[in-house]
Amino acid sequence: MNTTTSTMTPAVPSTEERLALRRAQNYRRLVIGLRTGLALAAIAAWEITVRIGWLDPFFFSQPSAIYQQLATWLTEGTGQGPLWSELLVTMEETALGFLIGSVLGIICGIALGRNKLAADVFSIYIKVANAIPRVVLGSIFIIMFGLGMGSKVALAVVMVFFVVFGNAFQGVREADRNMIANAYILGANARQVTTSVVLPSALSWILASLHVSFGFALVGAVVGEFLGARHGIGLLISTAQGTFNAAGVFAAMIVLAVVALGAEYLLTAVENKLLKWKPPQFVEMGM
């Protein structure tokens, strides 16, 4: 639980409570066991079907080959350089794009959410911009910023901005009218209302969008590298594609998945810290 509600001192648990606790623990173990089992079964099935010839390893590769590819990358490095430095390039592009895009999105979302005229004027253009597949802009950015990091960061920014902007805007609009009136009557000026009422109440909307938009930043960086780059995981994938190396594509995918999971974990930790005032989500277990 992320919130501590310790108004009661815990009494000595009764037998009934201990049993219920044990049941809850057993349930958690069952879930973890089934998850692991499912993953192992899927991997085993993949490997076996390839080995007995039901699937063509040329298209589908196989877990052992992917593992070997990863091991080679880790020990001998990729064709472009060590795996770590390639990953670092992609991470840097993703992180920069994510940061710039979300900061811009939050600022614009709040500014437009607080100003009705600006919101009414700009809303049509934002809808249009949001409807265009923004990945296409990647080509323009490559022309504008070249093969270096700039074009990938720009693409990631564009991918992230609209998601965060939309949520920040909506969050501001959903801010409780009574709370805003209360703040004004308590003596707040417009700036204080924005910082101490509107921003905190939009925060849960904004944080929710950050989960989605980190994935978008990663897509932006990788697609940017597809389109033209000297380094990065995206380039690794497009090289593997060029040499019909399915194992390479899958191996790069696994590397990206690990990164995304790590970021998700960090974001959840930040979210729990910032939203500690929210009522905890109780999971009731029958006794």
């Binding site: 009136a181 005032w277 009522p279």
Partner: protein
């Protein structure tokens, strides 16, 4: 003669829906509240009770007529005004102490001094020990106590209350009414208390104003001569019951279809 604390003269208020439909919420409404007077407004649903309060705060100016606070026309939010809302308007992301300290901080007091002052008010409303709790960890009655402390810490000369206790259960409501009278009697702000509960109005107020159904205007005014300090038990006296019956008779004519 001293000018009244609050003076609404012949005010009307119209609302225009996005489709251009005009609704009249208040018509030719006049009300004077003396300094230190506790005035309750009762009336049928949708008669514009809350609208009157909005006009006094300056957040919703009237369509016509004049609103004066201490003799001066209202323009913008007056720092002398305090407002307690019907719904929860305390900030859920701030602890009890920070919620109460909000007003002084907004008004430019040094945050640590504001917290000291707030700690005192948290104690006064009986929430000592809950300073660092978040609102969601408190009961409805306790959250109302936070709202009262948040308002009273600014020492308003005018206190506007919009059905503040309507969401509470009957027992908690009686407790909160006593709490409010206790806090009010210390500094005697001028109060406008909107409610749909006749007994609540009689228990608290010096004067009860009954409104007609919408668009609202004043139907009748009752002075409440019951002695102060009043306790919850006052409602079992014959005078109380008599007043309650008269006001209900007035109100019944307005709510019957």
């Amino acid at each position: 003669m001293m000018s009244p604390a609050i003076e609404l003269s012949n005010v009307s208020r119209k609302f225009i829906s996005p489709k251009g439909k005009v609704t009249l919420a208040l018509r030719d409404f006049s009300l004077q509240v003396r300094e230190g007077e506790f005035c309750a407004i009762v009336g049928p649903t949708g008669c514009g009770k809350s609208t009157t309060l909005g006009m006094i705060t300056g957040l919703n100016p009237p369509s016509s007529g004049s609103v004066k606070v201490f003799g001066k026309p209202v323009s913008g939010v007056d720092p002398k005004i305090g407002f307690v809302f019907q719904a929860d308007a305390v900030f859920p992301w701030k602890s009890v102490l920070d919620n109460v300290a909000c007003g002084p901080i907004f008004r430019g007091l040094d945050p640590s001094a504001a917290r000291d002052k707030a700690a005192d008010w948290v104690r006064r409303v009986g929430l000592a020990g809950f300073e660092h709790h978040y609102p969601h960890q408190l009961s409805g009655g306790m959250r109302k106590r936070v709202a009262l402390a948040q308002t009273f810490i600014n020492e308003p000369a005018i206190l506007l209350m919009d059905e503040p206790f309507s969401a509470l259960d009957v027992q908690t409501r009686a407790m909160m009414q006593e709490e409010l009278l206790g806090l009010w009697s210390e500094r005697k702000a001028s109060v406008v208390f909107v409610t749909h509960d006749i007994d609540e109005a009689i228990t608290l107020a010096d004067r009860v104003v009954v409104l007609t159904k919408g668009p609202g205007s004043v139907k009748s005014v009752y002075d409440i001569p019951l002695p102060r300090p009043r306790a919850t038990e006052a409602r079992y006296t014959p005078e109380f019951i008599d007043l309650s019956r008269q006001i209900w008779a007035d109100l019944k004519a307005e709510v019957s279809i």
